[in-house]
Amino acid sequence: MLTPTYYLVLSALVFSIGAVGVLVRRNPLVMFMCVELMLNAVNLTFIGLAWGLNDIGGQVSVFFVMVVAAAEVVVGLAIVVAIMRRRDGATADDLSVLRG
């Protein structure tokens, strides 16, 4: 018998995979993908909890999160394109002009 706890554990795992991915990967595109993974883990949490609470509010929240995630990628990719037009590669290690 499935309980909401299974979904919470699964989403916590997916969230952690995403968080570790952002911290260790150096390609901005992969970092965006990891952020998306984290957001979708949160969506799964919302749905699992909404099911457990028998409340529709959590499921509605997921739609808002999906819109935010889509908008965030648009902004992020635009910044990557702006940087790529000025230089050949864009890994996180190349972005090191600002220090101190």
Binding site: G18, L39, S61, F64, V65, E72, I79
Partner: protein, 498 residues
């Protein structure tokens, strides 16, 4: 069949007059964007005046709302998702003023850097809208949407300078770390929803007041993740590492907005959610905020000393200011909230004034922020040096400036709620902070100008910002009662009243 069901959905009642401040900013921004895409040759002065006018509309409607609040009391609208109280109206004035000042600074900046266009003003207005939504939000999801509206515009604003690689690097760093922190915040919201069964602050507060959670793991995890996400947004240690790089790289007018408007919106959320909604579980989160506040104060003031770049130094000083405002949050009392509001109001003006001076001093290319470039400013441009001196005195907390009253207020609130050791750390941080502002003053007044020192001119709109900021800083420094009365009335009231 489906239509019959659809009719049973009850639309929430919407009181448009409460939403007026955010409508002024959002509609103002979208209208000017549409106008410039239809008619290409709209002059820059018109765009700037339009942006400032939109902020003026938001401020005037807030003043009307404030009077209405005095007669009718706090209420909420859109099914309890938007809370209308003194707190939200007060912070709307702060955020709208921050946007207006940043717009005025951007006017000569865009011309000097050859970046003419409407985008920066529009993004500032939309970002300000997000901030106002955060100040009004009575629901965690509405708060999250406001935060994302605010942040996404600021990611682009940071990367706005097309010809300056540091600006794009700043935008990229801010975006990756900002999106990363947003996911933590959202995860926190999801867990709080799981623990309390609602995302509405009124219902959460009611649930916590009436129920004692036996297994409060979900709630504690949710609050912890929420604090991580918000500490990131306001630049509090140990989540501050983006601040110096982003402040250094982003265009100076945008930095003025980030330090004033974005910070005010972030603290709006902290005060509304932690200090008010979670006031019944205060023992669970105050220790965490205590540690964050102390770390922020220490790291902010100590790291600022070793900087050789004035803009980076001010970035660290803004971190230490965040630590001071945290004192108002952890007091978790009415006194703490109004002290934090007083701080946010006065800090918005004095940091915008400081950045106004830096906008001029940075010169073409927005790059020249070394201490050497400020040498002898007192002789080269006495008026500018005098204004900057007042702002630095205020940031250091010298009496007869608003900074002194603000620092005194938050430390007194922390002592009042018996958080003694953090208050002691704050006093030490204030002393260390005073030293680094003096360092700038020494280069300005006691050192000879360099031979190749540039001529600096004060463009009209920057002059307006400088004058306003000087007046506000001195006025509320000498007569703090003028503002204190408003800040004391501006409290969070979570109420379902219509």
């Amino acid at each position: 069949m489906i239509l019959a069901q659809a009719q049973t959905i009850a639309a929430p009642s919407v009181d448009v007059s409460i939403l007026l401040p955010m409508l002024f900013m959002a509609v103002g921004g979208l209208l000017i964007l549409t106008m410039t895409s239809i008619k290409k040759d709209i002059p820059a002065w018109f765009i700037t005046s339009w942006a400032v006018g939109s902020c003026g509309g938001a401020i005037i409607s807030s003043i009307v709302l404030w009077n209405q609040l005095g007669n009718d009391g706090a209420s909420s609208t859109v099914a309890g998702a938007v809370g209308f109280d003194g707190f939200s109206v007060f912070l709307t004035v702060v955020i709208a003023s921050a946007v207006a000042m940043a717009s005025l600074l951007a006017h000569p900046y865009l011309e000097r850097e050859g970046l003419e266009g409407v985008e920066l003003h529009v993004l500032l207005l939309l970002s300000g809208t997000g901030g106002i939504v955060m100040a009004f939000s009575n629901d965690l999801i509405v708060f999250f949407l406001g935060l994302e509206t605010l942040s996404m515009a600021v990611y682009v604003l940071a990367a706005m300078h097309r010809r300056r690689i540091q600006s794009q690097e700043a935008g990229m760093k801010y975006f990756v770390l900002g999106a990363f922190s947003s996911t933590f915040l959202l995860y926190g919201i999801a867990l709080i929803y799981g623990a309390t069964g609602s995302t509405n602050l009124i219902e959460i507060q009611g649930f916590l007041a009436n129920n004692l959670l036996v297994e409060d793991g979900l709630l504690l995890g949710g609050i912890a993740l929420l604090i991580v996400g918000l500490a990131f947004k306001v630049g509090a240690a140990p989540f501050h590492s983006w601040t110096p790089d982003v402040y250094d790289g982003a265009p100076t007018p945008v930095v003025a907005y980030m330090a004033s408007g974005v910070k005010a919106a972030g603290f709006a959320a902290l005060l509304r959610i932690l200090s008010s909604t979670f006031s019944s579980v205060v023992d669970d989160w105050v220790p965490a905020i205590e540690v964050i506040a102390a770390l922020t104060l220490i790291i902010g003031s100590l790291s600022a000393i070793v900087q050789t770049n004035v803009k980076r130094m001010l970035a660290y000083s803004s971190i230490s200011h965040a630590g001071f405002i945290m004192l108002g949050v952890l007091a978790a009392s009415d006194r703490g909230t109004s002290a934090a509001l007083f701080y946010l109001f006065t800090y918005a003006f004095l940091v915008s004034g400081t950045m106004a001076a830096l906008t001029i001093l940075g010169g073409k290319g927005d790059n020249d922020f070394s201490f050497e470039s400020m040498q002898g400013l007192g002789r080269r441009k006495p008026i500018l040096a005098f204004a900057l001196m007042i702002f630095l005195f205020a940031q250091a907390g010298i009496p007869f400036t608003s900074g002194f009253v603000a620092k005194f207020g938050v430390i007194a609130a922390a002592v009042d709620s018996e958080n003694y050791w953090v208050a002691i750390v704050a006093v030490f941080a204030a002393v260390v902070g005073a030293f680094l502002y003096l360092k700038v003053l020494v280069s300005m007044f006691l050192q000879e100008p360099q031979d190749n020192a540039r001529d600096v001119e004060i463009p009209g709109s920057v002059g307006v910002v400088l004058a306003t900021a000087v007046v506000v800083t001195l006025l509320f420094g000498i007569f703090p009662g003028l503002l204190d009365g408003f800040a004391t009335d501006a409290l969070v009231e979570l109420t379902t009243g219509q």
